[in-house]
Symmetry: C2
Subunit: 337 residues, 2 copies
Amino acid sequence: MAGVSTQTVSRVINDRPDVSPQTRANVKKVILDLGYSPNTIARSLSRGRTNTLGVVGFGLKYFGPSSVLTGIERKANELGFSIILTLCEQFEGGDTDQVLLQLSAQQVEGIIWAIPGFIDSLDPSRMVKEKLTIPIVYLNRDCLNSSVVVSMDNRSGGYIATEHLFEQGYHKIGIITGPKTWWEANERLIGWREVMREKNFTDIDDLIFEGNWEAESGDRGFQTLKSKNPDLDAIFVSNDQMSLGVIHAANRMGISIPDKFGIVGFDDLPESSFYIPPLSTVKQDAKKLGALAVTRLVEWIESESDQECDTQEKNLVSPELIIRQSSVREKALISHT
Amino acid sequence: MAGVSTQTVSRVINDRPDVSPQTRANVKKVILDLGYSPNTIARSLSRGRTNTLGVVGFGLKYFGPSSVLTGIERKANELGFSIILTLCEQFEGGDTDQVLLQLSAQQVEGIIWAIPGFIDSLDPSRMVKEKLTIPIVYLNRDCLNSSVVVSMDNRSGGYIATEHLFEQGYHKIGIITGPKTWWEANERLIGWREVMREKNFTDIDDLIFEGNWEAESGDRGFQTLKSKNPDLDAIFVSNDQMSLGVIHAANRMGISIPDKFGIVGFDDLPESSFYIPPLSTVKQDAKKLGALAVTRLVEWIESESDQECDTQEKNLVSPELIIRQSSVREKALISHT
DNA sequence: CAAATGGGACCCCTTCCTACG
DNA sequence: ACGTAGGAAGGGGTCCCATTT
C-alpha cells in the first residue's frame, strides 16, 4: 500500500509469525499514521467467518427481554462477536421466516431466537429451519423438536412462590397468569398447580385469572378473583407489573397487605422493592440467561465438527425467591391501611 | 450457476429491467429450488454499501433507552437497514474510541450514538471522530461541536412539570435530579430553575437533591429535602423510578399525596399509572425519538453529496405532561391512564 | 439500433505457494 | 534448508462494456 509491501500487512495485522520485527514495526507505524482499519466485510468474505450473531427479539417493552439482550450483547462482545438485532413486535405470521432468511443472507454464524414461546407459535417454519444450516439457540420456550433451548425454570419459580405463600400461613392462593398463549405463563401456572395439588385443592379453575402482563390486568384480576372467592387470601402473580396492579386494587378496596392478603410476584424489577409494601418476588437473572445462550451458541459454532445438533439440549436457569414484605405476615411493620 | 447464466442472476435478483421475462422466470425458479440466497457480505463489498447502521447504547436497564432502541430498530428495518448493536455499560474511558473504530471497520454506513450526554464526557475523542467520515447522530445530549443531535426537550419538560405544580396550588417546590453529570438531568434542573426564578425564589440550593435515577435515592431525597425544608409541599422528580421512592417515603412518614404533598415524575413508565396514587409525569416518547434519529441519519447517508455536516442541527422532541393524581389536589376524579 | 446476454475487471482481504536472501 | 517477502488465486457479488440477435 504505502510504506513497503502489500499483504505483509495482512500478516502484521493478524499477528502471523513470519515477519521480521523491523518490518512489523514499520508497517504498524504506517497503519497508525494512516488511521487504517481493515475492512471487516472483505475479511469475512475471504475467511468465511463473520464473527457475527443474529438476535431475534420480541420488543424491549418489558424488563426481562431487555436484560436478556444486555446479557447477550455483553457476552457476545466478550467472545468477539458482533450482534445484528432484529425485533419482531407484532405477530405477522410467516414473517419470521423472512427474518431468518435475511439473517442467513447476512452470513451470521449463529442465531439466538429470543422470542418467547407461544402455543400458537410464531416459530420459523420447519421448512426454512431445515434449509438453514446455521446453529440456532432458542430462549425461554419449550423444547419440542431437536433443538437447543436455554430457559428460565419458570415452573419451579411458580412452585417456590406458591409454596412460600402457604408456608406463610395463607390458606387459599389464587394465580394471575400471563396470556395463556405464552409458554412462560403456562410454566408458572404449572408450578402453581403442582403445589395446589399437593395441598389437595380440587376445582381450582376459579382461582385462575389470565392477565396480559400489564399492571391494569393485575387490578382486574384481583377484583375478579376476590369476588369469585371471598376467602381468597393470597395470589401468586406472574410478573411484577401485574403485582403492582394487584397492590393498587387491594389498596383501593381497603384490604391490607400482607396482613389480610399475600402477594408474590415474578421478575424482581429494580423498583419492586419500592412498591408499597415491598414486593416478594421470584427473581430471574435474565442477563445470565442471555449470556448462557451466547456461550452455548458459540460453543456450537466453534465445534466445527458438523455434528448436527440432535442433542436436544435444554438448559434451565434457576430463579430465586426474594422475600420482602408483601408476603410476610407476622410482625409486619407497615400497614398504613 | 446452475440453470442458464452467470450474473444475469444478479439482474434478476435486483430487479433490473433488461432481462427477458422467460429468462427471469427461469432463473427465479432455479433460485427457489436451490434455496439460494445472495451473500449480503459479498454484495456489500462490491457495492460499497452495507445497509447497516451501528448503534451504541448505554445499557437497557431503564425503560427510556429500551424504547429508544426499539424505535431505532423499527425505523431502520422499515428503511431497509440492519442494526449492529454495541452496549457500553461502564465508563471505560477511551474505550469508546475502540467501539467507533470497530463499527467503522464493519463498514456501517452511519452511527447512532445513544449514550446519554455526560459532563465528564464519555464521548469519542475528537481525534477519532475526525478521522472517521461516517455520519454520526447523537441522542439526548448537548450540541457542542458541529454535529447532528436529536434530543428530548428535557428543559421544557422540567419547566411544564414545575409550572403545573405551582398551578395546582403547591407553594414550595423542590427537585430531585438525576446524577448531575448527566446532561438530561441538568436540563430538567434548568427547566425547574426557570420556573423558580419566575416565582422569585432565591436561595434555592436547599431545594435540590441529586439522586441516582434509582427508587432508593428518591426515598432518601424526600427525607433530606423535607428535613431541610419543613414547609416543602411538592417535588418535581426527574424520573418515575425515583418518584416511586418518594411516594414510598412519604407514605411511610404519613404524608398524604396529593393532599399534603404533590409529585410529578418524568418518563411515564407503563406502570406509573398504577402507583399509589397514580403518578403525574412528563411523558417522553422515546420510540419516536429513536425513529427520528434514524430518519435523520438515513437522510444524511442518502444525500450522497458529501456536504459535511456543519449543519449543527438540533432536533428537539417535545415531551408531554400527563396529569394523574399525584399532583392534583382538589377532589380528584379517580381514573387511571 | 433496440433489447437481452455474457465477459471481465474489481471490491478488499486472506491464504497457498513460490522465490528470494 | 531456513526465515522472510511477494505473486496469484479466490471468496461472491456488481458494474461497465462488448457482444449477440
